[in-house]
Symmetry: C2
Subunit: 231 residues, 2 copies
């Protein structure tokens, strides 16, 4: 534990603010997140939190980065613990995303739900953590492709070739357009399935075992990605 006592106290307080902010986020949502409420719970006068956070939006950004980081860590750990086969790595990634979302619904909502009106996360602070999951996913596919484990790369819309190339450059991939197209689609399908469950949008069609439903979705996605044969 380096630094002066003052520095350590400052980091401790910043951690406390983040922790309290997480709790308030869960209770009232991002739009109603309030600096005064955080200060109250921190046991400090409301103006004091301005020593740690420039304003309300800054606190939100702190929580966005915090959530992306934790999600990224959880997914990294799960994929790291999975077997070397691409199906297993993809399945581990998908399940880790869902598990985190189910455990942290309000933070999931902050990252992948409706945008907060009047707030735009500053890209320079959130991007690094925000792209971790899709980057890992893309590399799982890229590794599998180079190992010859992807079974067929379907067609891709030619109009998007430039965008696919940009993605390939940005993430240093060697995969063809068809695999990128499939990956992007699986990405949105995966996150869509998680949001459907977390946000309760299956509505009247309730499922007794949402985890089984999700696992089935993941199996199907693995087939559609060419990582597994149809059951």
């Amino acid at each position: 534990m380096p630094g002066t006592p003052r520095q350590r106290a400052r980091e401790q307080t910043l951690d406390d603010i983040t922790r309290i902010g997480r709790r308030h986020l869960a209770e009232v949502g991002a739009a109603a997140l309030s600096l005064r409420a955080v200060a109250r719970e921190l046991g400090v006068v409301s103006s004091a939190v301005y020593r740690y956070v420039a304003n309300r939006d800054d606190l939100l950004t702190l929580l966005v980065v915090d959530a992306y980081t934790e999600l990224g860590d959880a997914v990294d750990a799960a994929v790291g613990a999975a077997g070397p086969a691409a199906v297993d790595r993809f399945t581990a990634l998908a399940r880790a995303v869902r598990a985190w979302a189910v455990r942290e619904p309000s933070r999931w909502a902050l990252l992948y739900g409706s945008p907060v009106p009047g707030y735009a996360a500053p890209a320079e602070r959130t991007t690094a953590q925000g792209i971790r999951v899709i980057t890992l996913f893309a590399h799982i596919m890229d590794d599998a492709w180079r190992a010859g484990d992807v079974d067929g790369a379907g067609a891709a819309p030619p109009g998007l070739a430039a965008d696919y190339q940009a993605i390939r450059d940005q993430l240093s991939l060697s995969v063809p357009d068809g695999v990128i197209a499939a990956t992007v689609q699986a990405w949105s399908a995966l996150f869509g399935a998680v949001s459907f469950e977390v946000f309760g949008q299956y509505g009247a069609a309730t499922f007794g075992d949402p985890e089984a439903l999700f696992d089935h979705t993941v199996e199907r996605l693995a087939v559609q990605l060419g990582l597994a044969a149809a059951a």
Copy 2:
């Protein structure tokens, strides 16, 4: 135009409230939607809106039902205008959903984004409109199945058989479990793709032509549903 002048004026005012509410929703979001602001814009003292709406949550419910109704109407119209083939009907449905969402991002967020903390839409008022799109989708699949136009019904997780049966009963379907499973998955994938675009979650991986990306997703979903052959 039936009813007394007073009744007509009341309906007019209710319409005005809904219209103003929609606009405020778009500007400040559901969490910050305010009765006082609506009253102000309506040119009326704040307590007057209580003649029309029981409280703030009631206004939200009004807007939820309004949005579901408009989305349902748009989708019905699009599918009605499509050809008889199941692929065409499914494609029309998907495109109509996306078109509405892109046109009305804040109302899409109200229906399919993060839940509003502290507000739960009363099922007895929202369900009828809320299930229209999935009901229509299910019947497109059911019709196609009975016409022999669905190419193969994959496996379905046996643990969910009871849930599938409930869905079959509720919507009067004759389709097997595998088709229900595929339909549910396509449903969440479709809505997930729309949310990804509307909420700007593709992030750094921007697409110059999001409509082309979406159309490609829909083509793939049609194949996965067994409604079309792979390209």
